[in-house]
C-alpha cells in the first residue's frame, strides 16, 4: 500500500532549530533504507505557486500566496503494509519536532494512494 503524507503548519515565526533538518534527513535515510520511503521533498511557500479553479463553469488562475492559516510544508510517499505503519513513520517525523522544536505546531495528513488493491478486476 502506498501512502502520501502531507505536512501542514502555520509559517513559523522563528527559524527551525539547528539540528532539526539533520535529524529529519537521518530519519528519511532510515525510512529509505527500510524500503519504506519512495520519495519526499519540501514545498516552497504558496507565494511561489498558483491555484487553478473551476467554479460555476469558469476557469480561473490565482497566483499565491493564499490566505489559509496553514501552508503545505512537505510531502512524503511511503510504501508500507498498513495505515498504522504510515502513521508510525509520520509520528516519528513529528516526534523529532516535538523534541527539538517544542513551540512548533503542525499536522500530517496521511492519505492512502489508490493501488491495485482498490480496483476490483473489471467484470
Amino acid at each position: 500500500m502506498r501512502y502520501l503524507t502531507l505536512l501542514k503548519s502555520t509559517q513559523p515565526s522563528e527559524p527551525p532549530p539547528s539540528g532539526l533538518m539533520e535529524a529529519i534527513m537521518n530519519l528519511g535515510a532510515e525510512a529509505t533504507a527500510a524500503g519504506a520511503l519512495l520519495d519526499s521533498a519540501g514545498l516552497s511557500p504558496s507565494a511561489t505557486g498558483a491555484r487553478v479553479q473551476l467554479q460555476a463553469g469558469d476557469l480561473s488562475v490565482m497566483d499565491g500566496p493564499f490566505t489559509e492559516a496553514k501552508e503545505f510544508i512537505s510531502y512524503a510517499l511511503y510504501q508500507v503494509h498498513s495505515r498504522e505503519e504510515a502513521v508510525e513513520w509520520a509520528s516519528r517525523f513529528m516526534r523529532l519536532h516535538q523534541k527539538m522544536w517544542p513551540s512548533w505546531e503542525g499536522e500530517v495528513e496521511v492519505l492512502k494512494v489508490m493501488g491495485p488493491e482498490d480496483f476490483a478486476p473489471p467484470a
Binding site: 510517499l77 498498513s82 491495485p116
Partner: protein, 424 residues
C-alpha cells in the same frame, strides 16, 4: 485506543522494527533462531501489556529494551546453569557482565552489517529453498507463520515446520552469523537474490481474488530488494534485480483483465502502468549497468540486469509497434549466453520475428523444435503458429494453435489458443 487498534499499531511497529531487532540480538547470541524467539517474546509482551498501559511514548525503544532484557535473562540463566555445577551459591550475573554491555551496543549501533548478516544467514545455501523463503519472510519481513502459510498456500503447521527446521539446520550445521568471505560472496549473494525473486514471483503469479497475502509478497520482495540495494550498493545484480521487480510490478494493475484473467503484455492498457515504479526501475537499471561496466571482468552483467533491460524496453515503449524489438532480440541473445535455455531462445525468436520478420523468427523456432527439448511446450507451438500466420501459412498455423491448446494444462490459455485457431 481500542485493543484492536493497539494490536494493529504493534503489528506495524513489528514490521518496521523486527528485522533490526533480530539482527542486533543475533549478533550477541550468535543464534538466529534464539534471536528470533527473543524478539517474538518482546512482541508478545507488548501485545499483553499495551492494551492495559497504553502505547509507550517511544514504542520502538520499548520493544528493543524488552528484547534486550530477555536476552540478558536468558544469558544469565545459561551462565547460572553452567556454573551451578561447579560453584554453588556464588553470584555470577553481576552488572559488569560483558554480555550486558555487548547487548546494549548491538541494539544501539548502526545495524547495517548485522542486517546483512541476517539476510545471508536466512538465505544460506545449507537450507532448502522453502526454508530460506520462510525464514527470510519471518526474520526480515516480520511476517507471522500464518501469513507465510497463506502466502504459499500451505497449512500453517507446514510453514511452522519449515521455520523450525530452518533454525535447527542453522544451529546443527553451526552456521556462523557472519558475512560471507570474498571467495563465496558471489554464490551466497546469488542465493539471496534467488530467494527475493522467488518471493516476488510467488506474489506476481497469484491470480485475482487470491488471498491478499499473495500479492503482498511482491511488495515485500521489492522492499527486501531496496533494503539490500542500500546494504550492498556496489553489487550490480542487486540493482538489476530491483530494476526487474520495479518494472514488472509497475504492470500489476494492467495485467489482470475482465473476469480476473491475466492480460498479456501486448494487450495491456499501458496507461495503467505505474509510472513511479517504472521511473525507479529505470534508475535502478542505470545504476546496475554503470556498476557492471565499471567492473573489470566482462561477465559483470548478470542475468537479472539483462532481464531488467528487456523489461525496460517494454516500459519505455508506448505501444507494441513502438517497442525496440531489435534491442530486445539482442538482449535475449546476451541472456541466452549467460543462461542457456530453450525458453530464452524462444523469447528471442518472438523478438526477432517482430524486429526483422516472421521468417527469421520462424527459423529460430524451427531450430529449437529440432533440438526437441521443448517438444511438449505449448508456447513453442503457439509462437510457431503466430509466425506461420504472419507468413500467410494459415493451415500450418491452425495445426500449431490446436496443438498448443492440446498441450497446455491451463484452461484459460487453452481457450485463447483455440480462439486463435478458429479465427484464422
Amino acid at each position: 485506543m481500542t485493543d484492536s487498534a493497539i494490536h494493529r499499531t504493534v503489528e506495524a511497529l513489528w514490521r518496521i522494527e523486527s528485522a533490526r531487532l533480530i539482527a542486533g540480538l543475533a549478533r550477541v547470541t550468535r543464534d538466529v533462531g534464539l534471536a528470533e524467539e527473543l524478539a517474538q517474546d518482546a512482541l508478545v509482551t507488548a501485545l499483553e501489556q499495551w492494551p492495559r498501559t497504553g502505547v509507550p511514548a517511544n514504542p520502538a525503544g520499548w520493544l528493543a529494551t524488552t528484547a534486550k532484557n530477555r536476552a540478558i535473562d536468558v544469558h544469565r540463566r545459561h551462565v547460572v546453569h553452567d556454573r551451578k555445577l561447579e560453584i554453588i551459591g556464588r553470584s555470577v550475573a553481576d552488572d559488569h557482565d560483558p554480555f550486558v554491555a555487548e547487548v546494549d551496543d548491538a541494539l544501539d549501533d548502526q545495524i547495517g552489517d548485522d542486517l546483512l548478516r541476517l539476510i545471508f544467514t536466512a538465505c544460506h545455501p545449507a537450507l532448502s529453498m522453502d526454508a530460506r523463503v520462510a525464514l527470510t519472510l519471518r526474520c526480515l519481513g516480520g511476517l507471522s507463520t500464518d501469513e507465510i502459510a497463506r502466502a504459499f498456500l500451505v497449512p500453517e503447521a507446514t510453514a511452522a515446520q519449515r521455520i523450525v527446521r530452518a533454525k535447527r539446520t542453522l544451529a546443527g550445521k553451526q552456521i556462523a552469523f557472519e558475512l560471507p568471505g570474498p571467495k563465496e560472496m558471489s554464490e551466497r549473494l546469488a542465493s539471496v537474490l534467488e530467494v527475493v525473486f522467488l518471493i516476488f514471483n510467488a506474489g506476481y503469479t497469484a491470480t485475482a481474488g487470491a488471498d491478499w497475502m499473495r500479492p503482498a509478497l511482491c511488495e515485500e520482495a521489492l522492499r527486501l530488494g531496496r533494503v539490500l540495494a542500500g546494504l550492498v550498493p556496489d553489487e550490480p545484480e542487486v540493482h538489476g534485480l530491483v530494476a526487474l521487480m520495479e518494472i514488472q510490478a509497475s504492470r500489476s494493475r494492467a495485467r489482470i483483465g475482465a473476469g480476473g484473467y491475466p492480460v498479456l503484455l501486448a494487450d495491456q492498457d499501458r496507461r495503467l502502468w505505474d509510472r513511479l515504479l517504472i521511473r525507479r526501475g529505470l534508475a535502478a537499471l542505470a545504476r546496475a549497468e554503470e556498476l557492471a561496466l565499471a567492473k573489470i571482468r566482462p561477465a559483470a552483467i548478470g542475468p537479472y540486469t539483462v532481464q531488467a533491460a528487456i523489461a525496460a524496453c517494454h516500459a519505455r515503449a508506448d505501444s507494441v509497434a513502438n517497442t525496440d524489438w531489435a534491442q530486445i532480440a539482442a538482449l535475449y541473445g546476451v541472456l541466452g549466453r549467460l543462461w542457456s535455455s530453450p525458453v530464452v531462445e524462444l523469447n528471442r525468436a518472438v523478438a526477432v520475428g517482430m524486429a526483422t520478420g516472421p521468417a527469421e523468427g520462424l527459423a529460430i523456432v524451427d531450430a529449437i523444435a529440432a533440438a526437441a527439448s521443448l517438444a511438449d511446450y505449448p508456447q513453442l507451438s503457439a509462437v510457431r503458429g503466430d509466425l506461420l500466420a504472419k507468413l500467410g501459412r494459415i493451415d500450418e498455423a491452425r495445426v500449431e494453435f490446436e496443438r498448443a491448446a492440446k498441450l497446455t494444462r491451463n484452461a484459460q490459455e487453452q481457450s485463447v489458443f483455440l480462439a486463435r485457431a478458429a479465427a484464422l
